[in-house]
């Protein structure tokens, strides 16, 4: 009961003082500012405290200028001036001042003064109306955990409304409490508060507190540490799976178009990576166009880029099929070489038009940043790419299973001559199938432009991996591609912590080479006479 009253009173005081400071006019702090230029360091420290207590919104800026060494005062004491590029200015208004005293010198700082400034600053930011500033200050406090800030923290905690900031502040308070000679119960509660954060920082804090903690508190700390570590280990696995799915979804996007051209048509398209690259450049062009023509749509440029990339690469794909590949059916190795040549031409074309350097493609606001999920942080762009790749996968599955075009495509795959004599225009089915595969590669490029560098070599980085996915998953089955992509993605991420990124990749390649020896046609292979 007593505590409640106390808190209430403190809060009341704070509210009153806040009103009071708000009501005070700007000019009222001028004497306080000028006091910074007078007397020795103890007086100045006092002046800083007085300024901070005034609660004026300009105070933080002034203190910042002070610590940057931008404030000048006459040697003998008097008005304080701000040094600018062209001369001096009034500290409060910023208006240039020409008639300054001749004996101006920089207000010097010592450690005591610096400490006072920093304490005043965190006090000010802790109470700042800006949420971001408050959060940053709270996190700073948590990091430094200076017992001197305890009172300040208590008063800020009482005022704080935002749950996240409040939790940080409480953690900071708990860490500080552990350093003071607070009661056993308080410390126990503090440990629980820290442990409730459940992350690696909490383990570090508890570890640091462990040695200095009283002996009867140590078992509790150890138990909390173990508990958190166990939880973290589980989250580590979850995190790895998540990273693996994220990589897998990228592989899926890159490989699924290949699975169509390779699986359905038996065509090895070495220029597939370049289709991905072209999709990424289409995104760049679309974004540039929208930024200059209709900036208000900038956040939705991806919505235009996806169909644009699909159309551009799809049409190029149809062109490639009609121009080159159709002459090479039945000669898969020659197709491989011709499309490789094509990939060189496409790369060099893009290099000539856009230059060899990376192009900047911006993330829209809804794809930037991250959110926390349990013990891990999930970036929005990865999240959306997973969603996108799954959507593309199922849309494609639906297209193949339900549409007339899909039916014709499957008919041509199974028996070209029969399909042709049933009146299916097999050349056009071929062309559109290749266009579809290329178009999907283009859409993959849109997604990749959000997480990778958009350069002429973009496709090269994915082509071998995509081949591995298709070969591993098995040809002629989209589910195989899905399982293959996700398995490789997750396996990669699980190997990385033990073997390192490069060695992990080498291991995966070796494993796939060995796997192909066991199952030459992949996980989901067609069986029987149809294969021959």
């Amino acid at each position: 009961m007593y505590r409640t009253i106390q808190i209430f009173l403190v809060a009341l005081c704070l509210i009153i003082s806040a009103f009071a400071t708000g009501a005070r006019a700007q000019e009222d702090i001028r004497p306080l500012v000028d006091a910074l230029g007078q007397g020795g360091f103890p007086q100045k420290i006092e002046a800083v405290g007085a300024l901070a207590a005034s609660g004026d919104p300009k105070v933080a800026e002034i203190l910042g200028l002070l610590s940057d060494g931008k404030l000048f005062a006459p040697k003998t004491g008097g008005a304080v001036f701000l040094e600018t590029d062209s001369g001096y200015a009034d500290v409060l208004t910023g208006a240039p001042v020409t008639d300054v005293p001749g004996n101006l010198q920089k207000i010097r700082l010592n450690n005591g003064l610096r400490g006072a400034i920093s304490a005043a600053m965190s006090q000010l930011t802790l109470l700042s109306p800006d949420r971001g500033a408050r959060f940053a200050a709270a996190q700073d406090l948590l990091k430094e955990a200076n017992p001197e800030n305890l009172d300040l923290l208590n008063s800020a905690l009482a005022k704080e409304q935002d749950a996240e900031i409040k939790a940080t502040m409480e953690a900071a308070r708990a860490v500080i409490l552990l350093k003071t000679d607070a009661s056993f119960e308080d410390k126990e509660a503090a440990i629980a508060t820290i442990a409730a954060r459940g992350n690696r920082d909490a383990v570090n804090i508890l570890n640091a507190a462990f040695s200095s903690a009283p002996a009867d508190l140590q078992p509790a700390i150890q138990a909390h540490i173990d508990g958190i570590n166990q939880k973290l280990a589980i989250w580590d696995v979850v995190q790895n799976i998540w990273y693996g799915l994220s990589l897998g979804s990228v592989l899926l996007l890159a490989a699924i178009g290949l699975a169509i051209t390779f699986g359905v048509m038996g065509v090895i398209n070495m220029a597939h990576g370049e289709m991905v690259m072209l999709g990424a450049y289409t995104t760049y062009v679309v974004q540039q166009t929208i930024n200059s023509a209709a900036p208000e749509l900038a956040n939705f440029s991806l919505a235009f880029a996806v169909p644009a990339a699909f159309l551009v690469t799809g049409l190029i794909g149809i062109g490639i099929e009609r121009g080159i590949i159709r002459w090479l059916y039945g000669r898969p190795l020659e197709t491989l070489l011709a499309t490789w040549g094509l990939s060189l031409i496409l790369q060099q074309t893009i290099r000539t038009i856009f230059g060899p350097t990376n192009r900047q493609v911006d993330n829209p606001s809804w794809m930037s940043g991250a959110f926390d999920f349990g013990g891990m942080s999930i970036t929005w762009n990865r999240m959306w790419i997973i969603v996108f790749s799954i959507a593309v996968f199922f849309a494609l599955l639906l297209l193949l299973k339900r549409s007339k075009f899909g039916l014709q495509m499957r008919a041509v795959t199974q028996n070209r001559r029969m399909a042709s004599s049933m009146g299916i225009r097999t050349p056009w089915v071929d062309a559109f199938t290749f266009g579809l595969g290329s178009g999907i590669a283009g859409m993959a490029g849109v997604a990749l432009s959000q997480i990778d560098n958009v350069s002429p070599n973009l496709g090269q980085n994915y082509i071998i991996d995509s081949f591995m996915v298709v070969v591993f998953g098995g040809v002629g089955n989209l589910w195989g591609t899905l399982v293959g992509a996700m398995t490789l993605g997750i396996a990669n991420k699980f190997l990385e912590p033990y073997a390192g990124a490069v060695l992990g990749k080498i291991l995966i390649l070796v494993l796939i080479i060995l796997f192909i020896q066991r199952r030459p046609r992949g996980l989901f292979a067609l069986k029987g006479r149809a294969v021959e």
Partner: protein, 398 residues
């Protein structure tokens, strides 16, 4: 037995071509060393290693042609065997530097000193001896090809699948050799060589000798390939290429047939790499890049796969073109190379030599057909005789 096989009835054209290469092995060094710089027949100093590089590429293309042109195995990883041979030679050349390195360590190459390594890794032992390095030039690529092929051919991985996993193989090696921990100099590779067999590697005489060695090796490899291709084994290989299951049902172990030629070819590629490195002065992981291996394929395709002379001509022509292009219009080289890939597969599937042979054959056939009109009956009666047999063999050689 092997020498006897080497001297067996070769195709005349191949024999002449081998002699021409041997002539170059003598004439180019002589012209470079003896003729004054102003003479129109003088081969300038910078041309000698360049020509040597072309010829080592030609050897690589020939090796690829043995597996691709004659056995239908499109390897997209032959650059790996070439690079391994090159690294074996590079390791020898590194050990020859001795205490003349920047850090003057008598045992450790500079990059190891730089990485703070204390002792020589075990796999660097023996490379101070030329004979050992030469053995490794054959052994390491051969072993890799043998192990890889043993797995791949036994489980009947064929066609584009095989191509893709050979590409994955060289890609994996590329990644591995980029790592400093591997002990092969990381991404800088091996370079700054001083001498070979005691001769200064920069000296004109050494360079001329290296060129001659490359040309002689190429000629020998050509004769060896010709002997292989003309033997019954060579005919089985072509059988595997054209009708693998028929070969199998005739009782041939297709996997062994493939494995042998794949291993021989990898060793040839290793020799090519070993000859390449001292003339170019560096070997780095870039040689493992999948793009390099595919480029070899196009040299072979341009010249004419399934012929022995074709890949040699193709490798020299394309690389000569590359030298000119990259000097004059560097921007356009990739366009030209890409167009070459597309045009060759679309319009010149048999390559230069293959197409010429086709013309020649068509001309011959017209002549023969005219003769046949008169003497068909006679020929039919006589065909069981001696000359029929001989002509069967010359024809099969192409």
């Amino acid at each position: 037995m092997i020498t006897q096989m080497l001297l067996r009835n070769h195709d005349k054209k191949v024999l002449w071509f081998a002699l021409a290469i041997l002539a170059a092995a003598v004439l180019v060094p002589l012209s470079n060393l003896l003729l004054p710089a102003g003479n129109p027949l003088h081969v300038p100093d910078h041309m000698v290693p360049l020509l040597g590089k072309y010829l080592s590429y030609a050897l690589l293309a020939l090796a690829l042609d043995l597996v691709w042109g004659y056995c239908g195995i499109l390897s997209l990883g032959h650059g790996a065997f070439f690079a391994l041979g090159g690294y074996a030679m590079g390791m020898y050349l590194m050990r020859q530097i001795g205490p003349r390195g920047v850090y003057a360590n008598p045992l450790l190459p500079d990059f190891m000193v730089f990485l703070n390594w204390q002792e020589l890794p075990w796999y660097w032992y023996g490379f101070d001896q030329f004979w050992f390095a030469a053995l490794m030039v054959l052994f390491v690529p051969g072993l890799l090809a043998f192990v890889f092929g043993w797995f791949a051919f036994r489980s009947r991985v064929t066609g584009v699948y095989l191509s893709i996993i050979t590409q994955a193989m060289t890609y994996a090696l590329l990644l591995a050799f980029f790592r400093n921990e591997m002990g092969f100099g990381g991404n800088n590779g091996l370079t700054d060589f001083k001498d070979i067999l005691g001769f200064n590697i920069q000296a004109g005489g050494t360079r001329a000798t290296l060129f001659a060695a490359t040309a002689i090796m190429l000629a020998l490899a050509l004769l060896l390939s010709s002997a292989i291709v003309k033997s019954k084994y060579g005919k089985v290989l072509v059988g595997v290429r054209d009708a693998e299951s028929r070969t199998r049902f005739l009782g041939y172990r297709v996997e062994n047939m493939k494995l042998f030629i794949f291993t021989v070819s990898a060793m040839m590629a290793g020799v090519a790499g070993a000859l390449y490195v001292p003339q170019v002065g560096i070997i780095n992981p870039g040689e493992f890049a999948p793009a390099n291996s595919i480029e070899v394929v196009i040299w072979t395709a341009v010249g004419g796969r399934g012929t022995l002379i074709g890949p040699i001509i193709g490798a020299v022509l394309v690389n000569f073109g590359k030298s000119i292009f990259t000097a004059a219009f560097p921007e356009f080289w990739l366009f030209a190379l890409g167009a070459l890939f597309v045009a060759t597969t679309l319009f010149l599937p048999k390559g230069i030599v293959g197409t010429l042979q086709q013309f020649a054959k068509a001309r011959d056939e017209r002549k023969v057909a005219a003769a046949k009109e008169h003497a068909y009956q006679e020929q039919a009666a006589k065909s069981a005789g001696e000359d029929g047999l001989a002509s069967a063999h010359t024809q099969a050689a192409e």
